[in-house]
């Protein structure tokens, strides 16, 4: 299986005043196409920082981050933006929908930024909306939707452009149990039906049952990884980048 994400001795240091905080202290991981992975750890373990790096939202202080074959370490802001636009989908804890637009327009914005919109994408989007059970909610503003509905709209937005990787940061953090279950089952369905590579970042161990693989972090390093294929040593430069 092709590696979609790879980090090699990844380090990230933040400066807060005069103090330097080493959020990541040498992280090595590999995530393959079609995997549904949970990255878990307590608050302050570096999982959000790792997510930001995997999502090309920021650059590493040292080490490599290869996203679908592209090393983001030396990229400028414009190049990082392009990687995010073409390869990454985000789902956030607080949904992060644009409040002044309808649900449909929130999804349309993502497609507009991406510059895509052919019939095959409309069909794909239609399938996603049906799967997420929100096709009748497109005319409503986020303030008119429940938390679960908003998160499903956010999921639809994140996969509307068929990104290589979907990153979800505490996707059920603002939801009740029932809606959390619905959303997590949606992630599983996306992974099973469309082979969408999904990484869930969470501190909640209950999410783990929905995933195939668990990576645990503590104090900026990975402490355990139940990788089903630990011996897979496929080179990071073996395959050209492609979308799902």
């Amino acid at each position: 299986m092709k590696n979609l994400l790879e980090t090699i001795d990844l380090r990230k240091t933040y400066k807060i005043g005069k103090i330097e905080v080493e959020a990541l202290q040498g992280v090595n991981l590999r995530i393959r196409e079609g995997e549904l992975v949970a990255i878990m750890g307590p608050s302050g373990c570096g999982k959000s920082t790792l997510m930001h790096l995997l999502g090309a939202m920021t650059r590493p202080t040292a080490g490599k981050v290869l996203i679908d074959g592209d090393d983001i370490a030396g990229m400028n802001d414009g190049q990082l933006t392009e990687v995010r636009r073409n390869k990454i989908g985000f789902v956030f804890q607080k949904f992060n929908l644009l409040p002044t637009l309808t649900a449909g327009d929130n999804i349309a914005v993502a497609r507009h930024i991406h510059g895509r919109g052919g019939p095959e994408h409309d069909q794909h989007l239609e399938e996603i909306l049906q799967m997420l059970m929100i096709q009748d909610k497109m005319g409503r503003r986020p303030s008119e939707l429940s938390g679960g509905e908003q998160q499903r709209v956010a999921i639809a937005r994140s996969v509307a452009n068929r990104p290589a990787i979907l990153l979800a940061d505490e996707p059920t953090g603002s939801l009740d149990t029932k809606n959390s279950e619905i959303v997590l089952n949606m992630f599983r369905e996306l992974n099973r039906r469309f082979r969408q590579t999904i990484i869930l970042v969470t501190h909640n161990p209950e999410l783990v049952i929905y995933t195939d693989r668990l990576i645990e972090m503590r104090d900026g390093v990975i402490v355990s990884d139940n990788d089903p294929f630990p011996e897979d040593t496929e080179s990071e430069l073996a395959q050209p980048a492609r979308s799902v």
């Binding site: 930001h52 999502g55 939202m57 920021t58 802001d77 414009g78 933006t81 392009e82 995010r84 636009r85 073409n86 990454i88 985000f90 956030f92 992060n96 929908l97 644009l98 409040p99 002044t100 637009l101 327009d105 349309a108 914005v109 993502a110 507009h112 930024i113 991406h114 937005r157």
Partner: protein
């Protein structure tokens, strides 16, 4: 999609959007009305001077083109010398006085017979020429503005006059008194401020001016055909500086309001900007959105400003019939341009600040 985002963004903050639009409208209105007022006064005065019906205005050396105001410095005996110039049909001496107690009013002191010989006579609405030294003729615009009728008293230059007649406007001044009265009031006996000259053949004006220049080499000789245009195109340093100052102040208002509006907008929408960046929106995309929002505000403001200018012009003329506000197409274009420029300048810093925001920090912003 950009259009939807822009409209949604503006509609989400209706008060701020409205205030920004009104500020741009104010900027445009300020420019158009002030420039229109100054241009209107100049043009209208020039038109009235043109409307005298004379062919040449004979003035003292170094006298002002604008309003043709000067002290009565020329001997009235010049009238006969001017008449001797070949081609001259009639000459009317005029003494100009200025009444500044209620606005700026020019009063002509005239000899009715000589004035009629040059102008072809007034068009009378009511009454007739003054028969006594304390009588005055006014034009219909003045009568409407001051609500006076024939027989009413008016106070001009601290003198009380009785209105003897009301004439059609457009013959030089709005107020006319006898030459004798003017001379008594100014103490300038047998003096004139200018002479209006009527020619046998108006098409020979340049030829006659040439002849007059030989006899009166230092005097001001101006053809009155298209006098109004000449007044408009003449550069008046003080007036140009005034207009430039008004335009500068208006543009500053526009820049500051747009800057404040866009700056508070991007601060409030930090998280939205972070969302757009996380979706892959480039810095250029963000800057473009802010500029487009600013442009929409400016365009609406321009439309309202131009409309308001015309309304205000009407209102001014209704309340002050003697004032003309001249709003011209080229100044509408200039004012619109200044408004757009102020929008661009005002949104430049906020848009660049918005684009430079770190997506991670922007998303975390509360």
């Amino acid at each position: 999609m950009n259009k939807k985002m822009i409209i949604a963004g503006l509609a989400a903050r209706p008060v701020r959007t409205t205030v920004s639009i009104l500020a741009v409208a104010l900027e445009v209105t300020l420019i158009l009305v002030v420039v229109g007022l100054t241009s209107g006064i100049s043009y209208e005065t020039g038109k009235r001077t043109e409307g005298v019906g004379a062919d040449i205005m004979f003035q003292p050396p170094n006298s002002s083109l604008i309003l043709a105001i000067n002290n009565s410095t020329m001997p009235i005996a010049l009238e006969n010398k001017i008449k001797e110039v070949e081609g001259v049909k009639a000459v009317a001496p005029v003494q100009t006085l200025v009444n500044s107690s209620s606005g700026l009013e020019i009063i002509y002191g005239i000899d009715p017979q000589k004035f009629d010989a040059v102008t072809g006579g007034f068009i009378w609405h009511k009454g007739g020429y003054f028969k006594a030294t304390d009588e005055i003729v006014v034009d219909d615009v003045y009568a409407l503005a001051k609500k006076v009728a024939v027989g009413d008293q008016v106070e001009v230059l601290n003198h009380k006059f009785k209105v003897s007649g009301i004439i059609e406007h457009g013959k030089g001044a709005r107020l006319f008194i006898s030459q004798q009265t003017a001379q008594e009031m100014t103490g300038m006996v047998n003096r004139a401020s200018m002479f209006y000259v009527k020619l046998n053949d108006p098409d020979q004006v340049n030829t006659v001016i040439g002849r007059m220049e030989k006899v009166f080499p230092t005097y001001g000789l101006r053809p009155l055909r298209e006098y109004a245009k000449l007044m408009m195109s003449t550069s008046m340093p003080a007036l140009d500086a005034f207009i430039e100052t008004v335009v500068f102040v208006a543009v500053c208002i526009g820049v500051l309001v747009i800057f404040l509006s866009m700056y508070t907008t991007i601060t409030e929408r930090t998280r939205e900007i972070g969302i757009l960046r996380s979706l892959g929106g480039s810095k250029r995309f963000i800057i473009g959105l802010i500029f487009q929002e600013s442009a929409v505000v400016c365009l609406i403001g321009i439309v309202i400003g131009v409309g308001s200018s015309f309304l205000l012009a009407r209102l001014v003329q209704f309340i002050f019939p003697t004032l003309i506000v001249m709003i011209t197409p080229d100044w509408i274009l200039k004012a619109s341009f200044f408004a757009l420029v102020s929008g661009v300048i005002g949104s430049l810093y906020p848009s660049m600040k918005a684009a430079a925001q770190d997506p991670v920090e922007a998303l975390a912003y509360e």
